[in-house]
């Protein structure tokens, strides 16, 4: 009697539901926006010649960003000031989603990166750190004799 009320396999159904939910959330990143609590957001990519780190850090003075490389660990730190108050006492904040305060993010770089060949540039609120790999570790084609 009770059995007929439920699908044949409740657990399989729950599993399917969970899978569908996960999928649905992964397909709609627009609702979540950038992950909160991790400022700046970071993308990392690599090529045969370099390792490239992109930090999405808008609204900073280029001189105030502290980028350090120590023992293969890259640290990006700084502070983002809160939006300047307009001086109007009656100003109302309707939405306050942007990050303000001190931040620090750490990325460990692969061993074959040359610590003396790291460049960083900041444009349009995007910090691009490019670290060249050692010549010796770049892939080479070995000819067969």
């Amino acid at each position: 009697m009770y059995r007929t009320l439920f699908p044949r396999d409740v657990f399989a159904e729950l599993d399917r539901l969970q899978r569908e939910l996960t999928q649905a959330f992964d397909l709609s990143p627009n609702i979540r926006g950038l992950a909160r609590g991790s400022f700046p957001a970071i993308n990392v990519g690599s090529t045969a010649k370099s390792v490239d780190i992109y930090a999405f850090a808008p609204g900073l003075e280029p001189g105030s960003i502290d980028v350090q490389l120590e023992k293969g660990v890259l640290t990006i730190a700084g502070e983002r000031k809160p939006t300047a108050p307009s001086g109007d006492e009656k100003a109302t904040v309707h939405i306050d989603e942007r990050f303000a305060g001190r931040f620090r993010r750490v990325v460990s770089l692969p061993d074959d990166v040359d610590p003396n060949a790291v460049t960083a540039n900041y444009r349009d609120g995007l910090l691009h750190v490019s670290a060249r790999r050692n010549e010796a570790s770049q892939p080479r084609r070995i000819s067969i004799q």
Binding site: L34, V44, P58, E97, H128
Partner: protein
């Protein structure tokens, strides 16, 4: 000014939702939006009736053959739509983009500006 998330979710093309601050003072509303990596040429501001659409595309100088190993920003487009309320004047919006932060200033229409009414004693 209300956030129209619903109409945004209906769109088929996915985009990131940029974080914003909205502050209202006596003369109008100031909106700050984080659009890192979006150059001026790739930023589109559209005012249609009472809705303002902010849309920006990322422009990264990606070296050839880059293989992404970790990505927190998973889409190259930011988009957000806001609906203006009646007292805001869409014809007087000014915009500025600096270091990846967009500042929109939307003044209130003149009739909606606060006025102090003088009381005359008889």
């Amino acid at each position: 000014m209300t956030d129209t998330r619903q109409s945004e979710a209906d769109r088929p093309d996915a985009a990131l939702l940029p974080p914003v601050n909205v502050i209202e003072d006596k003369e109008g509303i100031t909106l700050y939006a984080d659009l890192p990596g979006v150059p001026k040429e790739k930023l589109k501001l559209q005012i249609e009736g009472d809705s303002v659409t902010i849309e920006g595309e990322l422009a990264l100088d990606v070296p050839e053959g880059l293989e992404v190993t970790h990505a927190e920003v998973g889409l190259p487009i930011f988009r957000r739509v806001f609906t203006l309320s009646k007292e805001l004047d869409p014809n007087k919006i000014s915009a500025e983009l600096a270091n990846g932060v967009l500042t929109l200033r939307i003044p209130k229409a003149e009739y909606a500006q606060p006025r102090r009414i003088q009381i005359n004693s008889a």
